[in-house]
Each structure stands twice: as structure tokens, then as C-alpha cells.
Symmetry: C2
Subunit: 223 residues, 2 copies
DNA sequence: CTTCGATGACAAGAATTTTCATAATGCACT
DNA sequence: AGTGCATTATGAAAATTCTTGTCATCGAAG
């Protein structure tokens, strides 16, 4: 698998590139938008991983230009937690998925694998559903039964993760890693707290509960 | 001019209704979404002023339903400063303009007059431009030369106001009133500070400066 | 050279997230 | 079924982070 990483921050860039190399991929790393655009146009990559914020030409512009030139390489955007508009823009510009920084490497790895599997199937994971609950990643908007639900950034990220793995149980550890990027087990119950708040917004006002507790393991959203 | 105000908060509701009456308009005030929908469908209004957050049926749903029923009455949404998604949603649902709370009454009055003048011309003031600077009110996104610019809520409001009055000088007092809803002149230099921060993001990284100082009066954005 | 505006640093205030303490619930075992 | 232990739920307080406003100082314009 040939991957181009476009990321100006050296630390993150190397972290990503090294990790992917260890998984056996061929990885190029570029730090400047303009150079990257040239590189992406002249070499054939399987996947592009692009930081949303770049000096010079920013990530969104790079992808827009590429798409304009009929380059269909799947793109995974890296954005920051608060940046709502970023995601909207990224996906609008022709991104296929995005990942919120900071992220656990396993998460990145999973997204890369998913993108590789469906080389050009943009637009299908962009609205996540479970029952009458809808999460529109484009607009960063959640509704249930047509009713708008306001979520804080972390709540959104947690719900998103559960929805992406709908039907499968997620342990606290898995959630801590994916949503909080904490890979040891600190004495914390953040997960419980956030699940509780999520339920108050997503489940309590409605008939059926979507977020189930699996005693002894973790949580799951029903198919 | 016959106006329906849909606002659950009594204080704001009365403030708006009273003010508009003093300007000679006929104003009805409703506090519940469902009642308001019925009222709007059975009576012919020139303008609807709708709070985004309503108990029961929220503002966006009211307007969506109305629009579904081919009711083309212009709608002005009232939203809160932080609520990004609100505005996007509001305009998407068929709103014609929006106003951020808290607002100065003069501002409301101006918007109402503008809506009255162009009864059905939605979608034209929704992207504000000046040179290569674009402000998309729908997506709450600012770009210059294609480059995305992140603005904080107050910065966005300030720039929006200047753009809406492009070419005209805005005094500090006018800005304080419109953007901060402060109608006396306190010993403050918030305007200067925010102009400075805005310039750092909007002008400094680019060739030409758009935000001009008019010494002795205030600020202006060039046509 | 005097006044007005620009700006960086700091402080206040809000919003968000995490921790902590306590209550509630489920499950195993009598 | 009842009791006790362990797990999960939740409200409130504390900590953190982000945003906004103030102040003091610097620079530019007339």
C-alpha cells in the first residue's frame, strides 16, 4: 500500500509515517501544501492522509485541486477536536473520511484499512444511523426522530465512535483509546460520565434506548 | 406591516414586539411552536421573527413545515452567539436571515426593513464578499483567496457587520451597538482590540488590506 | 509633539471536560 | 425472594481550556 502523508507538524507526521511503515506500507511524508500537490499529481498513491491545517496551501485546497484534476485517490483528513467547520469543509472538498486529533494509532490504522477496502465509495459513511437516530458527519449535526440534538465535542466524538461500530460492544478501554487517546488505564470514569450525559440527550427524551450497557464489558449501540 | 414574533422567552419577546409596535407595525407574539405554526398558516404575515430554540416544536421545524406548505413569508431567525449549527440549520430550513442574540433593537429594525424590501429574494445576502474575501453565512465559513480562516464568534460577528455595510464607515459607537449591544459609551477599546485581532487573521497574511482605518471616525471595508 | 489608533500581555468570564462522592442497579449466592 | 458485593449511573464540584475584555505601552498621523 502506497501512502502519502501531508502534515506540517513533524511530530505528528513522523508518528503517522513510522506507524504505517511498521505495518508494511510505503509512506512518503510532505510538509508543504504546494509540494504535496505536485507529488500527489505525479505519483500514484493508494491513500492520502492530509492535515486540514497546512501553511501555504491548506489541506482542503490541495484536495479540491486534486479532485478538480480528476484524481480519485481516497483522502483521510486529520482535523482538531473543536474544529467543526473543518470537517464540513474537508468532506465537502472531496475527503472520504476524517480523524480527530489527537488520535490513537489503531484508529488511524483502521480508517486506512477501511479506505483501502472501498477505493472510491465516498459518501456512504457520511451519515451514520441507528434506528431513528441520525448523525450527519458533514454538518456535524445529530437528530433523532427529526428533532435536533445539540452535542458537545466530546459527546459527539463518543457517539460517533459507537455508531461507527454499531452492534459491537465497545469496552471502556477501547473507548478511552479511541475517543480520549489514553492507552493505559487511569483511575477514571470519564467514559461512564459521558455515556450518562449522552443518554440524557440521546435516549432519555425518547421511547427506546439506543445506548445499551453490556454489564462487565462496556457499551453498545443496537443495530 | 404585519409581523409574527415566535419567541418563548417573555423578556425578549416583549422587547421585540413592543419595539416593532412603536415603529408602527402590527405585531403578534406567540410562545409555543405548535400554536405559532397554526397561527402562521391561518393568518397572512409579512414577516416572521422566529427564535431558533423553542420548547415543543423548535423554530427550525416550524419554518420547515411552513415552507413545505408553500408558505413563502420571509423569516428572520434569532440565534445565540455560540450556536454555529443553529444558523446553518436555520438558513437551510428556509430562513432568509438571522440575528445573533443579544442584539440592539436598531439592528433588528434594519433587518426587518431589508426583508420587507425584498419579499422573496432569499439566498442573496447569504454570501458576503469583499475582494477575494468570502464569508459564507450558511456554513459560517470565511475564506480569503480560497484559504480558510478560523474566526472566533465575536470576530465573525464584527466582520459580518462590516461586510454587510461594505464601503460605509462604521464608527466605534455603531459597532459597539450592533456587535456588542452596548448603547452608551463605556471606557473601552474592545473594538480596537477586535479589529486588531481580525486584521491579524484576515489582512496580515495577505497582500492587500481590506479593513481600513478612517482616522477620527472608525473603520470600513473597501468595496 | 500631541492625539488617536494598534497591539501584546494579562485577567476575567464562559464553556467544556474531568474528577469525586454517592446513589442505583444487576447479579450471584443463600 | 432476600442479602451482599460489584458494577454502573449520575449530580455536583473542581479543573481545564477557550474566549472575550482590560490595561499599559508602543507607534503613526496630523
Amino acid at each position: 500500500m502506497k501512502i502519502l502523508v501531508i502534515e506540517d507538524d513533524r511530530t505528528t507526521g513522523n508518528y503517522v509515517a513510522e506507524g504505517l511503515r511498521e505495518e508494511g506500507h510505503t509512506v512518503d511524508l510532505m510538509t508543504d501544501g504546494k509540494d504535496a500537490l505536485l507529488q500527489a499529481s505525479t505519483t500514484d498513491y493508494d491513500i492520502l492522509i492530509v492535515d486540514r491545517m497546512l501553511p501555504g496551501l491548506d489541506g482542503v485546497s490541495v484536495v479540491k485541486t486534486m479532485r478538480g484534476a480528476k484524481n480519485q485517490t481516497p483522502v483521510l483528513f486529520l482535523t482538531s477536536l473543536g474544529g467543526v467547520d473543518d470537517r464540513i469543509e474537508g468532506l465537502n472538498a472531496g475527503g472520504d473520511d476524517y480523524l480527530v486529533k489527537p488520535f490513537a494509532f489503531g484508529e488511524l490504522s483502521a480508517r486506512v484499512a477501511a479506505l483501502a477496502r472501498r477505493p472510491r465509495a465516498t459518501q456512504d459513511e457520511i451519515v451514520l444511523r441507528a434506528g431513528d437516530l441520525e448523525m450527519d458527519l458533514m454538518r456535524r449535526k445529530v437528530t433523532r426522530g427529526g428533532q435536533h440534538i445539540d452535542l458537545l465535542p466530546r459527546e459527539f466524538a463518543l457517539l460517533e465512535h459507537l455508531l461507527r461500530r454499531k452492534g459491537r460492544v465497545q469496552t471502556r478501554t477501547m473507548l478511552l483509546e479511541a475517543v480520549w487517546d489514553i492507552s493505559f488505564d487511569p483511575q477514571t470514569n470519564v467514559v461512564e460520565t459521558h455515556i450518562s450525559r449522552l443518554r440524557a440527550k440521546v435516549d432519555r427524551p425518547f421511547e427506546t434506548e439506543l445506548i445499551k450497557t453490556v454489564r462487565g464489558s462496556g457499551y453498545r449501540i443496537e443495530e
